[in-house]
Amino acid sequence: MKIFQFSVWCFISICLVTPWLNHANSIKVKVVDDNKNPVEFAVIYIKETLPKVSDNSVVIDQVDKEFIPYVTVVQRGSAINFPNNDEIRHQVYSFSKSKQFELPLYSGNPASPVVFDNKGVVAMACNIHDWMKAYIYVVDTNKFTISDKAGQAMLTNLSKGQYEVAVWHPKAKDNEQLNTQQINISDGEEELVFTVAQKTQFKAWRSPKSTRRRGY
């Protein structure tokens, strides 16, 4: 009887632990430019379509007349809040095909978040402060991440299997052709290096110019 109980206990334990073990795999990604310099704000994601996982905590803040963060990635169907933590008002808008929206002049928290139903790039800006720019990248999966200042990022909780990993960056020279790599995950941590050629991107000038022409 004791042997039977022990066997059942072992079976249940294995059933509980195995899926966790199966998802304990990860991909360490490094994103660099043509000169091998680290690239920050690269969106890295698994190319697959997964059902929407509820996530109401996505926030794009406005601080010191800048959007924070500069790049946000969300799964299709996600809602994003745009609190304004400046003591002034902003007017946030986007003309992008993936999502066109406008938050008329406001301070504090807007009445409701904005839902992003279509995948793709959403470039947003402020109508009052022309230099304010930020990007939202909408994907079909919930397996995504963004590279840090060192150009590094981790895709975690992956099952064993074959994946296609894609990288997008707002300053990539060729954003029409996604930068992708295939990877086979067996056990533990795999590593991928992406090279993303960068183009110069311009924001409206913000620093003060000579007071000869003040522009107020």
């Binding site: 010191d64 007349k65 800048e66 400046d86 003591e87 002034i88 008002r89 007017q91 808008y93 003309f95 406008e102 008329p104 002049l105 406001y106 800006a125 109508n127 009052i128 022309d130 230099w131 110069t200 991107q201 311009f202 924001k203 409206a204 000038w205 913000r206 620093s207 003060p208 110019k209 000579s210 007071t211 000869r212 022409r213 003040r214 522009g215 107020y216």
Partner: protein, 299 residues
């Protein structure tokens, strides 16, 4: 021309409350403005003499400070109310040292939502300039109408029309048949501006202005007779700064300016401005060049 300009200004002022009502929200005071500029300027032909043997050059350091606040009517129209203080100190010609205290009212309207929408801006500015040589102290009133637009992510264009009137004390009469109110002047500029972002740290700007109206020039006593002989001098008086005479003319000028700005942070920058003034009255040419290096901070 002046009447048309005044009419545009009146229309703008009257239309602002209408524009405000079109907004989805009520207007309110929004961000504060607090700007400071510390600059060094080298000026060639400071006295704008028409005679090469009679020119004086100098250098000056200056502080310009602006405080004020924006009033946002809606997403497209905002008003600025600013107080300005300028202090200029010259290296050699200390009699030109001056301080200016002024107020500026500006209204800026953007024609719609988006980066590429053009804007129209009106400014009216009043200031008192207190000069070390008191005769040159003046009250200055100028108004500007500017229109501009981003052409692409790097290029912006603007054009402006401004009118200035200065009102100072009359100097001592030295030519009986001529007025001595040299520092009462009125003139206008039609200006064109180009801003080109080289990269996220460097901005190249250029401007051209056509100036029409009164300007002043100084010359030594030896050259006064030549001036009176060939130019239609409107007013003349003694010049305590350069030692000869200072006189007022009506003429046209071309002003070319190029500047390079370096962004230190989003709130501060370095600016280098080169400006060439090329004026002409009836016969004589009046040319001057200045080089300005400034540190600017914006809160």
């Amino acid at each position: 021309m002046k009447n048309s300009f005044a009419a545009i200004i009146i229309i703008l002022i009257l239309s602002t409350p209408i524009a405000a009502q079109q907004g989805v929200d009520e207007g309110e005071w929004v961000e504060w403005v607090s700007d400071a500029q510390l600059s060094y300027t080298a000026i060639d032909n400071l006295n704008l003499s028409a005679f090469s043997d009679d020119t004086h050059s100098d250098e000056r350091i200056a502080f310009n400070g602006i405080v004020g606040r924006f009033y946002q009517f809606n997403g497209f129209t905002r008003m600025s109310f600013l107080l300005e203080l300028d202090v200029e100190k010259y290296q050699d010609f200390n009699a030109m040292d001056n301080s200016q205290l002024g107020a500026n009212l500006g209204i800026r309207h953007k024609f719609g939502l988006g980066f590429y929408q053009p804007y129209l801006q009106f400014n009216v500015n009043y200031r008192h300039k207190e000069v070390e040589w008191d005769a040159q102290s003046t009250d200055i009133l100028f108004s500007t109408l500017e229109v501009g637009q981003h052409i692409n992510n790097q290029l912006s264009l603007a054009a402006s029309l401004d009118f200035t009137t200065t009102n100072g004390d009359a100097g001592s009469v030295i030519v009986p048949e001529l007025s001595s109110d040299v520092f009462d002047q009125s003139y206008m500029h039609l200006s064109f501006f180009v801003d080109y972002i080289l990269n996220q740290n460097w901005l190249l700007s250029a401007s051209y202005a056509r100036r029409q109206g009164d300007f002043q020039s100084s010359c030594s006593k030896d050259n006064v007779a030549k001036v009176l002989d060939v130019e239609q001098v409107k007013a003349i008086t003694k010049d305590a700064i350069f030692g000869g005479c200072v006189y007022k003319l009506d003429g046209s000028s071309n002003i070319y300016s190029a500047s390079l700005s370096y962004s230190l942070t989003s709130h501060s920058g370095l600016n280098f401005v080169m400006e060439h003034y090329q004026g002409k009255a009836d016969v004589l040419d009046y040319q001057s060049t200045s080089y300005l290096l400034s540190f600017n901070y914006r809160y």
